[in-house]
Assembly symmetry: C2
Homo-oligomer: 323 residues x 2
């Protein structure tokens, strides 16, 4: 057994026993794409597939983190263990500031049945989606009943992330003017439950009407009719959170009654994940065999001088690498 493997084995034991510190350490490994991560995921994978994964997304300023925290509280009150993965996009313009403002409920953050973790983009193509999926697997293996993945709904990466959840909650707020208009086909497809948060604001009726009209236009192939729930997450006590949990549960019930549909959804996510794994591993090998030690630089020089073109070079390397 290699060092990485024995380190992974010890860590896997801790995760499968549900120890938060082991989970935190495991997430750091997948986040940094460390060699032990692969061995760890292999070990815990057989014990995954039990958690209910809730994706929660919406425009900046929609109150996603408050809503996530209050929804988590509902589950905690029902004596469930809840993992929260807050995806912090590296957007140089908006990301930092918005998520910097987040104030997590102190009560929740220290609750023994709650695990909260922020994930940040590392800048490499698709790296965040991979790390988030793997963090969810670790929480699943650690016995968290519900895992909430919260992400801002801007950018392809973030939409990809939320697609991997078992149920997707889309959060809107009243009075954002054109915003409902911009909730186009893409988001209507991924939303299984819609929330109008900050529902004490003006314009809530109009937002509800527009949302209903859009949902009517976009009939889903699986026959599910996404419910619309109104919430005020920051009220004391928060309004509409039990209803939101019920709406999420009703989707899980629906999915349970349509096992073929659910299997298809899970398979799509798994398939995508598998292709990414294959891609990353192949590129790692190709890099080491065909491009390291100045070979890439030599090719680039000849491309720069227009002696060769990138398309011919790529074809040559692909032919050389594959059987």
């Amino acid at each position: 057994m290699s060092n990485a493997e024995s380190a992974a084995a010890i860590l896997a034991e801790g995760i499968l026993a549900g120890r938060p510190r082991a989970v935190a350490r495991g997430i750091s490994l997948v986040e940094n794409d460390r060699p032990e991560a692969s061995a760890l995921l292999r070990l815990i994978f057989p014990r995954t597939g039990r958690a209910n994964v809730v994706g929660l997304t919406g425009a900046p300023g929609a109150g996603k983190s408050s809503l996530t925290d209050k929804l988590a509280q509902v589950y905690v009150d029902r004596r469930q263990r809840v993992g929260i993965v807050a995806v912090d996009p590296s957007s140089p313009f908006s990301g930092g500031a918005i998520l910097g403002d987040r104030i997590r409920m102190p009560k929740l953050a220290t609750h023994p049945n709650v695990f909260i973790r922020s994930m940040a983009t590392r800048g490499n193509l698709g790296g965040l989606a991979r790390a988030t999926t793997e963090a969810v697997l670790l929480l699943d293996a650690a016995g968290y009943d519900v895992v909430i993945v919260e992400t801002v709904g801007v950018g392809q990466d973030e939409v990809d992330i939320v697609k991997t959840a078992d149920v997707t909650v889309v959060v809107v707020v009243p009075g954002m003017g054109d915003d409902i208009q911009s909730i186009k086909a893409g988001i209507m497809e991924i939303g299984d439950v819609f929330v109008i948060n900050k529902a004490d604001r003006d314009g809530v009726e109009r937002t509800q009407m527009e949302l209903e009209a859009l949902l009517e236009l976009a009939a889903r192939p699986d026959g599910w009719q996404p419910p619309i729930v109104r919430t005020i997450a920051t009220a004391t006590p928060p309004v509409g959170l039990e209803e939101l949990a019920a709406a999420v549960a009703s989707y899980f019930d629906f999915a349970e009654r349509h096992p073929a549909m659910r299997a298809q959804r899970r398979r799509r996510v798994l398939g995508r994940r598998l292709l990414e794994l294959i891609r990353d591993r192949i590129m790692q090998q190709v890099w080491e065999r065909e491009l390291r030690d100045g070979q890439l630089e030599a090719a680039l020089e000849r491309i720069e001088s227009r002696e060769l073109d990138p398309y011919t070079v790529a074809d040559y390397i692909v032919q050389k690498a594959l059987r």
Copy 2:
């Protein structure tokens, strides 16, 4: 010669002759990743590398499209041919609405020396960055002197796109409160020129001071000191556009005086592009040989039942595919 190759040859001729309709058709081919695209790019590649590519990015609402149009007008007035590639992210929340509002200058859109094209995300990983780079190559080959790539600065994809430009212009606006604070390391590195647009608004002095302070903190390894230009793109006549063009030109002068640095920058972009090409081609082949015809489904079934894990399956397929 295959059909795709002869179609590509005819199109390449039109593009190299600078015909806008041929360019438009070429961009459609790369956008839809059609088989002819590869042959076309191979043919035009030797004639690329002459255009000055200007990347322009900033937060939603910073006035990027007005600024792009007015900057293009400056170049047009100097009898240069200008290509504009406006990247329209598929963000389900903000993208559509914001870019839907754009009003392109009608004068510019019909000018014989101007080519404007919007690119939209297709949803596949990295597809937009690839298509945008290729569209720029086509405009370059068609003899456009300046190509402006305009993209909203949210999400990794968009940042990746702007990194491929020869010079990157970052647009901010006064009075966005915390926004300057959130212009963190990432964006300070990619900005070669900074613009404070809507400079008639309150808070312009504060924004300028904050920007200067941040720039001082983030000294660049190449020694370039990014200038800050104030503009009012929507004024009649627009304010600060000549100054912006001068700032962009001063960066090009600087790059010219540091050819090793410029070569390094271009090589980084080319290298990234080559790796993407190799990756996409390898995955295409692996898909056809190892995953098609139900093989992926069979693997997924065994993963779903937890009989196998994705990591073992990925390793197996990689071993089988590579020499």
